[in-house]
Amino acid sequence: MNTLIILVLLLLGAYFVAVLENWISKGRFQLGAPLFAAVAFLGRESFIPRKPDQLFYEVGPVLLLLSAILAAAVIPLTPDLIITDLATGALFINAALVYVLVALLMAGWGPDGAYSMIGGWRFLGQLIAYAMLIVMPITAVAMRAESLLTTQIVVSQAELWNIVYQPLGFVLFFIASMALAFLPPFDMMIAKGELAGGVESEYSGMRLAIFRLGRLVLIITLAAATVVFYLGGWQGLPGIGLPPWAWSAIKILLVTAAMLLIGRYIPRIREAHLLSWCWIFGIPLALLNIFIVGVLVLEFP
């Protein structure tokens, strides 16, 4: 039952992201637009390039959606509303999200087109930049919670949310998760103005629709993960009596909106620059964050 509820909520979240992205990036607020676009995709032609790597071409979009859904499976929305409370939850999110890279590389390699190929390689470079900044802040979160259970991580923030306890980790994780979801400042691999769609360029019809759905689900999943790790999950502010699910929903929607809004005001970042910034500044800062949290955990448990 929980599984069904969460899957429906994920779809609703993806719908919300689509509406919001349209509003923020194009200035058009149309509640029905994603629905019409989805119906229109049904009627579109879905042609396959001349000499594709058939397996990679077909698996790419499916794997993108799968990795986003699997990562969402260990994210709690309320104490009970979670698909599986895996004992290795925080690690499982990483494991699932690494397949985003595999999906984009497969989708880039598959159609044998230059634009999609370059898009795929760009994302590989981007992974080497952001990956450490996803895992290192999560380690610091697990140090405080003494557990990899995602529900336990939320409970550990009962007194003080992690965004106050470890603000450095929050900033690094937020930026890295934007790079992981290839949101605007980091969207060199699928940007329309860069490589005519990059990884998306050789996909059409329903396969493209699944690819885009996977991207939307990925964005909402990462926003939910940010809320669980840093914003206290379902826990509310004292004095405001809302139910836990409402707190989760409000926080996730706010984080999504922040991710989309920030991208609007920053020019696109090449993966070469991102690599040097992440390795020269990001990783020393992430190690510093682990050290600070280590001291804090021992001094003020």
Binding site: R50, I69, A90, D112, M117, A131, T139, M206
Partner: protein, 120 residues
């Protein structure tokens, strides 16, 4: 739920998602096939039909980072179990991991001084 059941549920989630996607493909298929037209299935490059295959060797210009990434990624595999027992073990755990991380960090600094942290 036992952990076996949990992984079973995750497997069911994978199978269900693939089934959902296949059924959507099937629905789209009932609207008709793509019409065969000349040049339509050729990948485009800069407005022209791409004649040559692109499956060739590329220069991975970030290989310096990639090698460092391997070292750090291995280290992260040890960090998770360490993070879980950190509070129990206390200051000794901080020192143990501190020495390990300091050596790795020196490696990062050495790599930087040798020009690994730039586009090759």
């Amino acid at each position: 739920m036992s952990s076996l059941q949990q992984y079973g549920l995750l497997l069911a989630l994978v199978v269900g998602t693939v089934g959902f996607i296949l059924s959507i493909y099937a629905i789209a298929r009932t609207f008709g096939k793509a019409r065969p037209e000349p040049g339509k299935d050729v990948p485009a490059t800069a407005g022209q039909l791409s004649r040559e295959p692109v499956w060739v060797r590329y220069h991975a210009r970030y290989y310096g980072y990639a090698l460092l990434f391997l070292a750090f990624d291995m280290e992260m595999a040890y960090m998770y179990p360490w993070a879980v027992v950190y509070k129990q073990v206390g200051i000794v755990a901080l020192l143990d991991m501190g020495v390990f991380l300091a050596i790795l960090f020196l490696g990062l600094l050495y790599g930087w001084s040798q020009g690994a942290l730039r586009r090759q």
